[in-house]
Each structure stands twice: as C-alpha cells, then as structure tokens.
C-alpha cells in the first residue's frame, strides 16, 4: 500500500483512475466555488462594514440577469458532472461478457469465495492482473456490501437476490476488502483482502492444490442427492419438470404468458420459491428448497445448470460463447 499520492487511495483497477478523474474535477469545482463565495463574502464584509452607528444603506432590488446567470451556470456545471458520473456508472454496472466468474457468499461476519474452477477462499480473494472478474454475490443473512477502495467499486449484497460487481485489476498487491453496509456486531471485522497477482503467479497459485471440485461438479452431486433428477432428468433433459439443458440465459415462457430471461436470479428463485414463476406447460408440483439448500449450495446448483447450458450451446455449434476459461480441478488456499 505504499506510494500513494497523499489523500488518494491506491489506484489498482481499470476503473479507479476514471473515478479519480471525475473526483478531481468535482474537487476543483468545489474549491473554486467555495473560494469564490468565501472571497466575495470576506470582501463585502470588510468593504461594507458599518462605519457609523445609524447609517442605512440604499436598498437594492435584485437582478433577474444575475438570478438567471447563477441558476444556469451551476445547472450546466451540474449537468456535466451528472453526465460524466452516469456514463461511468453505466459502465461499472454492466459486467463484460468475457469476465471470469467468482461466486461470493456473505454472512455475518465473513466473506466466502468460490472460483468457477473450484477454489474456495475465506476473507481473501486471489485474482490475476489484467483479467476481468465478475462477482456474483449472495447473502445468507443481512445486507452486506462488497467494497474495495483500491478498485473504487462497491455493491450491496442483498439477501434474496444476486447482485454483481466487476473489476479488472491493474497492479499486483494486497488491497483492503471492507464490508460497507452495517451488518451487526462485528461489522468492522468483516474485512479481508484482495490479492492481485501476476498471471503466472496466479496460475501457480491456482495449481498449488489439486483435490478441489469445481462449483459445477459440486452442483451436479447436489442435483443427484436432492432428487432434482427425478423430475428434471438425470442429465437435465427434463421430465415432469422443465428441461434444464441450455436453459441458462434463454428466454422462458411462463404459465402467465410472460416471457422471462432465465438468469441467475430467476434460477435461484425457482429453486427457493418454485411457485413464483412457473414455466408454461408444467404444473406447480415442485416443493420449495428454502431452508434445504443454503446460498453456497444454491450457487453450486446454478453453476451446474449453467454448465448444462454450455454443453447445449456447444452441441448447437456455438463454441466458446460462455464457459470457464480456466483449467478444472483446483484447491482452496489456507
């Protein structure tokens, strides 16, 4: 964490310098207007101080020109900040397609990570430089918030849904990870670190251990043990329940006539609250798995369903559309 400019945190992602640029612009505008107002006030207060006890200055009516000027100019400046901030925000909240996915489960008071390739970590996340990383985040209990000051990124982790966040680290190092949404007694100890490594080091780290199941294969085991296969088919080909092959990110027609995109949030809801959005042509026969699977297992089931999607897409002749770019079978850190 050395070598920072005073009062600016380490800048270690592709986004951080962009946010800093807007921050500097805002700081400049603030300093300018604060000094302008303070200067004008001090000037007037000194220049027009009361000289004789009963003097009464001539009243001044006001000026529409001035009122217009000092409404329009601040408005134009405000709009420039708005547009700049909004375009960066739009970029920040649109995860790129070619990102590696990491599943994050937050709970009082720890961060649990599972790489798509299987490595699990607690309160420490290893990522390579120059690789876009997308986090898919769920909470087991209350609202948490994933905050990495060095990357200038933050997003709440909200129970009941998935939220996402992405970044691309640019500089190797170890950076703070904070929980930024108050979450109870040990909120201030729900901290960790993001370890950014050079790609070769990262690959070494990845292959350091060998007996970790990938999230998808853990999910496949759960799929069997929970009895999902009895309705959705042994390999997700469907049966009494809808087919899961290729369902991820496809458009699903619901019994209500609505069409919905089967993203992670929809799959999660369909496991925990199956009656909420029933696929057209199927009966409301699936029991809830609320309280049966926790968020981590949920994530694994969804990883499995996503892997089915990959196979289907592959079979249909669209290779490389999705999928995990990393070698399989790895291991957790200590």
């Amino acid at each position: 964490m050395q070598s920072w400019i005073p009062f600016i945190p380490e800048s270690a992602s592709t986004e951080s310098s962009k946010v800093d640029a807007l921050y500097f612009y805002l700081s400049g505008v603030t300093v300018f207007f604060t000094l302008l107002i303070a200067g004008v006030i001090i000037l007037f207060v000194v220049r027009y101080r009361r000289r004789t006890p009963f003097e009464v200055p001539r009243p001044i009516a006001g000026s529409h020109t001035l009122e217009t000027l000092w409404s329009v100019i601040p408005f134009v400046i405000a709009m420039s900040i708005f547009a700049w901030g909004a375009s960066l925000y739009f970029h920040q909240f649109r995860p790129p397609n070619n990102a590696v996915e990491v599943y994050v489960v937050a709970k009082q008071w720890m961060w649990k990570f599972q790489h798509a390739t299987g490595q699990r970590e607690i309160n420490e996340l290893h990522v390579p430089v120059g690789q876009k990383v997308k986090l898919i985040m769920a909470s087991e209990d209350v609202i948490h918030d994933f905050f990495v000051p060095a990357f200038r990124v933050k997003n709440d982790v909200v129970p009941g849904k998935y939220t996402t966040l992405w970044f691309e680290a640019t500089k190797p190092g170890t950076y703070h990870l904070f929980c930024a949404e108050y979450c109870g007694m040990n909120h201030s100890q729900m901290v960790g670190s993001i370890v950014v490594m050079n790609p070769t080091e990262f690959n070494n780290w990845l292959s350091g251990n060998v007996n970790q199941q990938s999230a998808a294969s853990s999910g496949q085991q759960l799929y069997q043990t929970l009895g999902c296969a009895s309705c959705h088919g042994n390999n997700g080909e469907g049966g009494r329940g809808p087919a899961l092959l290729g369902v991820f990110n496809s458009n699903v027609q619901l019994a209500t006539g609505q069409t919905i995109r089967a993203d992670e949030g929809y799959l999660r809801e369909s496991i925990l609250n199956p009656q909420a959005k029933i696929v057209n042509g199927f009966g409301p026969i699936m029991p809830t798995f609320q309280g049966v699977v926790n968020e981590e297992q949920n994530v694994q089931l969804i990883a499995y369903i996503k892997s089915l999607g990959t196979q289907a897409a592959g079979a249909a002749g669209a290779p490389g559309a999705q999928g995990s770019p990393k070698p399989p079978v790895r291991e957790p850190t200590k």
């Binding site: 009361r50 900040i81 901030g85 609202i143 905050f147 930024a180």
Partner: protein, 551 residues
C-alpha cells in the same frame, strides 16, 4: 406611521404574567411552549453530544479499546436517533419557529394553541419512550434501521425505539399544521405574502414537508414493527418480501427530513444576513420560492441513497439527475445571501458571525453533496466517512450554526436580557474552528476508503481520526461556552431594549420580552420586508423605544 411606536416597557410580559409549574405545563402561549421545547431539545442535544464524545474518544485508537463492538454500535445508533429525531427536526421550528412565527406576522398566537401544547407533550412522550429504550438496553441497528438486520437479527430494543420515533413524529405533524394554518389565516393587516420575512417562507416550506413526509416514516416504522413481531413478510425475502422496499420507504421520508432540518436554518440565515447588513434580501422572491422548490424537489430524490443497493441502473440515473436539480435552488440562496451583503452596512455581532459561518459551511456541505449525487463517485464514497462529513456539514455547519445564530439574535426578545457579546464572538469562532477540524479530515478519510460505522479500523487511518477527535474536543468547548453564558445571562445579563439591533421586523416592535398577547394592539403593516427606514425618521417615531422616547 403610528405602528412604529414601541410601547414603554411594561413590567408585565409573558414570562412573569403567571407563576408556578402549572402555569408552564398548561400554558397555551406559543412563547412559553417554545421555551418548553427549548429546554427539552437542549436536554436531548446534551445526550446526543455525550454519545458523539464517546464515538470520537473510541476512534482515537484503531483497536476499539474503550467499548465493546456491541456498545459502540449502540452508541453511534443512539447518537443518530437522538440528534436527528429529537434535536435537529424539532430544533429551529419548535423553538424559534414557535416563538417567532406569530410575532413576525403580527398574530397573537398560533392558530391552535392547544394543539401546540399537545405537540410538546407528544414530543416528550416520544422522547421518554426512546429514553426508556436506551436505558433498557439500547438499540444497535444504526439510525437507518435497515432490514433484515433490524427485523430479524438485532437483539436490541428496536420496536421500543421505533415507537418513540413514531410518537414524536406526530408532534412534527401538529407543528407543521399549526404553522400552515397560522401563516394562511392570521397575518396582520397589510402583511401580504411577499411582505413576510423569509424566515416565515422557510417555515411554510418546512411545514409542508412535515405534513406530507412524516406519515410515511410512521407507516414505515409500523411495518417494521409488524415484521419484527409477527414476521409478516413485507421485507423478508424468505417470505417473499423485499428488503430494498424498506430503504425506499425510509428514505422517502428521511431525505425530505434533511430539508426539514436545514430549511428553517436557511430562514434564520436570511434574517441574519439582511438585518446585520441593513439590507433587503437580494432577490427576495427567488429566495422565497427556492424554499418551496427545495421542499417539492426534495421528495423526488430519495433514490440517491440506493445507488449501490441493487436499484436499477436507470432509476439511479434519474435520481442522480434530480439530485443535481435540487442543488440549484440551494445555490441560488447562497448567491443571493452573498449579494445581499453588497453595499450593505455590515456589523459583526455574534449572530452575524454564525450567519456568515453558515454560508461558508453550507457551501462546502452542498458542494460535497454533488460528489455523492455523481453516480460513479458515489459508488466509491457511499457508506464511507465522506458521507458522514458531508451531512455533518449540512446538519451541524448548517442547521446547528443557524440555530445558535438565531438563538443569540432573538435572545434579547426571548429572555429580555442581552448575552455577553465578547464571549459570544469568541465561542462562535471556537465552534467554527472546532467544527472544521472535526469534519474536514473525515472527507479525506472517506475518499481513502474508511467505511462508516466501523469500530475497528486499519491503522493507516489513525492520524486523521486523531485530528478529528481533537477538533471535536474544541467543538465541544465551543458549545459549552454559550450554554454557560446564556444561562448566566437569563439572570445577570443587561436588560434588553425592545429593539436592540434597530431593525424593522414586527417582532422588534413590541417590548422585550413580549406581553402574552404579543402586541398591545394589532399592528398594521405598511412596509416591505427588510425595509430599513431612514434613521432620522425612525428616531422621530421612537424606533429605539427607551433611548429616544425618554429624551
């Protein structure tokens, strides 16, 4: 020009018209009720201040050596709850507003004197319930009560505290109702809408928010209590509810509540700047309407508290845009106040020092609000110390300074005694320095990434925390000094004349302290707001009561 006459000082005024505890507890006089409020909110301010001191002391070291984490969490929660709901919201409206709204428009009292007294009793009941909750074990949810932590996970007195806030909300509603009806129906002959002091306009706008916004927080707290006690599933995702819905409801009130806190302060500052430079407020109508604009736009920006709360990206953009829009009327006020000083006759009494300090600090508070309205920057800054610093610049640098300025300004009218000017100026300076030293470092901490509500923190932040605590100590002393000399002056201060600052406002055209019915006879207003008559004319008509009339 008969209305200029100030009656010779009478021995009978609202303070000595009746004696005894009962005469206070059953009073219907808006001025006495204002004093009841003044005493009560000072008590709550003291409690909130003690919590603030505990927070700053604890943060001197990064390892949380003074309190346990649970206690620390309760301390910052209770600091927020007490300061927001029991000091800032009632502060200026319930004390200065209560005292001055009738006086400034030439009325005998507020429209509903009994409801006014009722509002104080409701406030006290809410306060007592909250104090009970704090003594019984306290609450650790943060003043924002976010679910599902507050509904399912917290083991503290959430419902009891919520009940206290729920009850006290009704006192705001009643005060707002009273002000609106009074301003509409009880203005003295000749007191047209555009002759009203800007203090009145600000209170009118504030009252609108109180009436329209407060019921929403009441509903929100009720839903929270149902959810916590009966698990009905409004907010709990496991039961099909939505935790973000709570945040929408909470901020739908709590963002406008920021304007409940700061608009009256802007009203006070308009009075201070105009009267201590003997100038009419530059662009009177723009300042008046900007209060209304803030009150209305203020209801449309709550979503800027949810930029990182999984709100849709497009909703974020709209709320960001509207938040920038609401900054404009505030900027217009600042420019108009500055222009009011131009070619004025400016004197530097304590209230004016607070007024000038307000403009500076409110400017910083407002400008740093733009950082938080700018979406991508807010992503980095939200829930950090930057936010803490920003809203303390508005709440303390704005509201508290305006409150202190107003209290000094109208102190002669309220108590009939002058405060010691030298001590006043000195403490205003100490408050200004202490405040900036406390909160400027927190902007820096925030950008460096220090999250709010942290009991333990990384060691690299310690230097800035120590600076902040040093500033808070200075600020504490700066606030203690006026507490002492104001109390002292109530008994030993020099007797105040009817119009110590030589001003045209109606409240200065009656004796100090005013009689129970405010004016000997109903005043007839023939002058514009802030119309400073030429001195010789004013002297002829006995503007300075005692001094000239006796010659």
């Amino acid at each position: 020009m008969e209305e200029f006459k100030v009656p010779p000082p009478s021995k009978i005024n609202y303070l000595n018209a009746e004696y005894g505890l009962k005469s206070w507890l059953l009073t219907r006089d808006h001025k006495r009720i204002a004093l009841l409020y003044l005493g009560s909110i000072s008590f709550f301010f003291m409690i909130g201040g003690i919590y603030a001191m505990l927070i700053r002391l604890e943060l001197l070291t990064p390892h949380g050596q003074l309190l346990t984490s649970t206690t620390y969490n309760k301390v910052f929660t209770q600091h927020g709850i007490i300061m927001v709901f029991f000091f800032l919201i009632p502060s200026i409206p319930a004390t200065l507003g209560n005292f001055l709204v009738p006086l400034m428009i030439g009325a005998k009292d507020l429209a509903f004197p009994r409801i006014n007294l009722l509002s104080w009793y409701i406030y006290m009941l809410g306060g007592i319930v909250t104090i009970y909750a704090l003594l019984a074990g306290g609450v650790d949810t943060g003043w924002t009560f976010y679910v599902p932590f507050s509904t399912t996970f917290s083991n503290s007195y959430v419902v009891a505290t919520g009940l206290g806030i729920f009850i006290s909300g009704f006192s705001s509603i009643l005060t707002g109702l009273n002000f609106i009806v009074t301003i509409h129906t009880m203005r003295a002959p000749g007191m047209t809408w555009f002759r009203m002091p800007l203090f009145i306009w600000a209170h009118y706008a504030t009252s609108l928010i109180m009436i329209l916004g407060t019921p929403v927080i009441a509903i929100t707290i009720l839903l929270l209590a149902f959810e916590r006690l009966a698990h009905v599933g409004i907010f709990d995702p496991a039961l099909g509810g939505d935790p973000i819905l709570f945040q929408h409801l909470f901020w739908f009130y709590s963002h406008p509540a920021v304007y409940i806190m700061v608009l009256p302060g802007m009203g006070v500052v308009s009075e201070l700047i105009a009267n201590f430079s003997r100038k009419n407020v530059f662009g009177y109508k723009f300042v008046a309407f900007s209060s209304l604009a803030i009150a209305i736009f203020g209801f449309l920006v709550w979503g800027h508290h949810l930029f990182v709360a999984s709100q849709s990206v497009y909703a974020g953009m709209i709320f960001s845009f509207l938040s920038f829009a609401v900054a404009i009327p505030s900027a217009v006020k600042v420019f108009n106040w500055s222009a009011t000083l131009y070619k004025g006759s400016i004197s530097y009494e304590t209230p004016m020092l607070y007024g000038l300090g307000f403009i500076g600090l409110f400017t910083i508070g407002g400008m740093t609000g733009l950082f938080l309205a700018a979406l991508a920057v807010d992503v980095h800054l939200s829930d950090t110390y930057f936010v803490i610093a920003h809203f303390h610049y508005i709440m303390v640098g704005g509201t508290l300074l305006a409150y202190l300025g107003g209290l000094h300004y109208w102190w002669p009218k309220i108590t009939g005694r002058m405060y010691p000017e030298g001590w006043g100026r000195f403490s205003a300076l100490v408050v200004f320095i202490g405040f900036n030293l406390t909160f400027l470092p927190q902007f820096v901490l925030g950008y460096m990434g220090m999250p709010r509500r942290y009991h333990y923190y990384p060691e690299e932040f310690q230097v800035l925390h120590v600076l902040s605590t040093a500033g808070a100590s200075i600020l504490g002393v700066g606030l203690l000094i006026p507490a002492i000399y104001l109390l002292w002056s109530m008994r030993y201060g020099p007797i105040a004349p009817a119009n110590p600052w030589h001003l045209p406002g109606l409240e200065w055209r009656t004796q100090s302290p005013p009689p129970t019915e405010n004016f000997e006879q109903t005043p007839v207003v023939t002058w514009e707001a802030y119309e400073f008559a030429p001195i010789d004319e004013m002297e002829v008509v006995g503007r300075y009561g005692e001094s000239k009339a006796e010659v």
